[in-house]
Symmetry: C2
Subunit: 234 residues, 2 copies
Amino acid sequence: MEENRIQAVWQGEMQCTDCKIRALALFADLHERDFALIHRPITELGLDSGATLYRQADQGPVVFTLRSGLVKLEQAQSNGGQRIVRLLRQGDVAGLESLLGKPYNHTATALEPVSVCRIPKEVVSRLNQETPRLFKQLMSRWQKAVDDADNWLTELSSGSSRARVARLLCYLAEHGEHGRFSLIGREDMGSILGITKESASRAVAEFKRERYITHVGSGRYTGNLDLLENAAGR
Amino acid sequence: MEENRIQAVWQGEMQCTDCKIRALALFADLHERDFALIHRPITELGLDSGATLYRQADQGPVVFTLRSGLVKLEQAQSNGGQRIVRLLRQGDVAGLESLLGKPYNHTATALEPVSVCRIPKEVVSRLNQETPRLFKQLMSRWQKAVDDADNWLTELSSGSSRARVARLLCYLAEHGEHGRFSLIGREDMGSILGITKESASRAVAEFKRERYITHVGSGRYTGNLDLLENAAGR
DNA sequence: CGTGTAATTGAATATATTCAACAAAAGTGG
DNA sequence: CCACTTTTGTTGAATATATTCAATTACACG
């Protein structure tokens, strides 16, 4: 049911002790014996691009950690629109607010195929009581969410539309492997940057023409960081 | 020295057990005996409008809780400018990142005379080890910072400059006592809303002419919430 | 190979910024 | 308490920038 709603294309029970990205994940500092305290199943899910992890206002029993891929967090505006307030990638945690018994504050949607771990909140609560090691990681994740939100505002919601798009492309280029990245939809770009999809499209099209970004096949691009940073105004 | 740098106009050692706003503060859930664990002094400071609590990149040994007044958090942009990313009021905590050993991420400045409690981070760490009661409050503060940041983005950084100013005035009116509030400087408004001070000024002047806000003496105003919400587009 | 979705582009319009001038308010020092 | 200086707010006019809406064009997928 739950798995159905979130449109998993594959899933499996997870052994966190063997996790290849544990250094990046919420459970980074846990020891062997800490894992004995996990009594509820942690499942790993694979989701298609476009799949929804959870919806704003839902009362969820789980947090997610992102193993790979890219997820957007959208929040409803009082005027009826939606605004993308953050992008999550490997190691980021989604739905922390559920640990406080609060409904999800965002709708979380995969922007590309993603792999996530679904962690029941009881697992986190229990581990947090039993061992102080999780505590610091939890605080760090919360702080990272604050930092990301603040940087989002200062970097992506200020300046001309061209500069905003340039900064977003820098972000994508810096986080993509080998500097290669997929462009996100122009509508999403607009929702991230607080501009219209047309303005986003115009800026992207210009950057293509001016070779600030170059197509390298199968929808992937590389960016000229120097040129982009310059257009971003820094 | 420290007290000098933050330009305190008065200060005194604080007995948290007697705190009149404890229900709102970080130490809300603590019991009598928990306070025996506090070995370092918590001081209460009064600051003038314009005083700086701390500066971005400083490595501070304290967090602050705000007892009264209004504080802005400014963050440097990569282009050299500054953007106000949050406003803090009664019960809010500033400088949580210092608990993780990180430098402050913002410059915190009083927008009106404020009263704050200055809490050495050792006090928080120690209490947090000894009692689980602080833990939940800490998580809540962190989550509130995230929520505030997200709402800031969706509510104050979207739409026309007129709508943004209307939303900011709504915010001020809702949080002021008896719906009365002081207008903040137009330059600060611009920095909050991502517009120029001239655009902010134009919108404010219009709202005054149209009686969306009314002067009630000594620099204080009341707002017509219906009209303002309407102008805010909701 | 069509068909629908997403991206691009153009032209008209709306909106915000810039820069300059002036007014109002808030300090400052007798 | 008053004159003076400085800062802050307001407004106008020219310009730059972004939005809107409509018309194509490119592209992915069955």
